[in-house]
Structure formats: structure tokens, C-alpha cells
Amino acid sequence: MAEAMKMRATMEGDVVDVKVLIQHPMETGLRKDAKTEKLIPAHFINQVVATLNGKIVLDAQWGVGIAQNPFIGFRIKGAKPGDKVGVNAVDNLGTKFDGEVVVA
């Protein structure tokens, strides 16, 4: 599912600014289908881990309140061009999302 994740990592001074977009419905489980009146089951990314050259820099847990097609931006100090930033995410149904980008 690599195509479901878009990443960008750019240097700003001595800090790398990372932006990540993941395609995901982020269903809360509280919404009703307009036609059937039935609740749409919850389907959301609940864990996200980011790494710099394989070392964990960000360990996140998400609830249903993150907007659809989640965006996350974070910053890592001490990175340099050529370093690799990775993101692993998993949703409540077990679908995995991976992405990796080289710092530019």
C-alpha cells in the first residue's frame, strides 16, 4: 500500500521538516449510512511510528478524531540530506501503511 502514503522531508536549517499524507477514510464508527440508516463500522489508523535511519523518533497513537486522509507534520533535529525517514502505520482492521523518503 505504498501508494497510499505520500511523504516529503526537507531540511530547514539543522532540522528536517517531514510531511506525511496517508489516504484513509478514518471512519469514526459513529456515522450512519444515509441510505441504509446503519452505522458505518469504525475504520481508522490507530498507530503511527516514524523513524530516522531506522531509529524511532515519533511513536503516535491516534483515535477517530484525526481527519480523513490524515496529514501529519513533524520535525527532527540532527538529520542531514541523504538520511532516511520512514513511517509505519496500521489501522484497526490490521491494514499496514509504509512509506520512506530520503531527506532532501
Binding site: 532540522v15 456515522r31 511510528v49 497513537q61 478524531g65 507534520g73 513533524f74 490490521g94
Partner: protein, 156 residues
């Protein structure tokens, strides 16, 4: 009853997910999800309970946590929030939307050079206090601001 069942199903789903992923060898070494998903905190409906279960209770108000968010959000489905902690030794940060059905939005732990900064987009059911709490040096700090919502983001 229905709520209980829902919480249970969510919980079961989350735990099962990690177990299956590990069993299948899907998680890369070094990128294993450190802790089990905190379903107690994420399914709490009361903001105070969510804050407590996430481990951010007893926080002191601090102006060193800077929250960037619109004063008025036209669309509650997508509200950009950027939070920065200027408190030295900040190790984690959580975002709460107090009037949402599930107030805890996300909890981030920083390590190995990650700055205490997060930019993301959240859902807001209605006008609410947006609260950002952090842990630093064994203490909790918090800051909040109101975001007015003209169209809620959790309706059907």
C-alpha cells in the same frame, strides 16, 4: 450497552491487529509499535476521563505550549492544528477536542531528536476547546484555545 460493545470491539480489533502483524513478520525490526493502543483513553467520552486515562492529568497551565488553529473553522471535518512545546525536555504531546464524542484525538511520543512539534488535521463535531497537553521532566503541562465550528465534522 451499545457503547460498551463498541469499545470492546475496537479494543479487540486493535489488539488483534498488532498480534497478527507481528506473527506475520510484517513489522520491520526497529519500527515495532511500542505500546498497545490505549483504548481506555481513546474511547473515553468525558474530556477529564480521557485526559486522566491518557496520563495527562494534574497539568499546569503553560503559555510555553503554542497552539496554532483557526479561530473559526468553516468545516469541522478538517481543522488544521499545529502545536509546539517550548518546555525543555518535552517527551510527549496529546491533542484533545473537549466537545468531541471521543475527546482524545492523538498522543505523540518524541525521541531521538524529534522536536516537540506536531502539525495535523482533526475533526471537530462542534465549537470546542482544543487542548494540547505535554509531558516534560516528569510533569504535565497544558494549554488550550477555542475553535468555533460552523459545520460539524462528525455528522452523517
Amino acid at each position: 450497552m451499545n457503547q460498551l460493545r463498541r469499545a470492546f470491539l475496537k479494543n479487540a480489533g486493535a489488539v488483534g491487529t498488532v498480534a497478527v502483524a507481528i506473527a506475520a513478520g510484517l513489522l520491520k525490526p526497529g519500527a515495532v509499535f511500542a505500546a498497545a493502543w490505549n483504548s481506555l483513553a481513546f474511547t473515553a467520552k468525558d474530556p477529564a476521563e480521557a485526559i486522566k486515562n491518557a496520563g495527562y492529568s494534574g497539568a499546569a497551565e503553560s503559555s510555553d505550549i503554542v497552539i496554532k488553529a483557526p479561530d473559526i473553522a468553516e468545516n469541522g471535518a478538517v481543522v488544521p492544528i499545529t502545536a509546539t512545546s517550548n518546555i525543555p525536555g518535552t517527551t510527549s504531546m496529546a491533542i484533545f477536542v473537549e466537545k468531541n464524542p471521543a475527546p482524545l484525538i492523538a498522543d505523540f511520543a518524541f525521541s531521538n531528536g524529534a522536536e516537540p512539534y506536531i502539525s495535523t488535521r482533526v475533526k471537530m463535531a462542534k465549537t470546542s476547546i482544543v487542548r494540547v497537553s505535554v509531558k516534560a521532566g516528569g510533569k504535565n503541562y497544558t494549554s488550550s484555545r477555542e475553535v468555533k465550528v460552523t459545520i460539524g465534522g462528525c455528522g452523517g
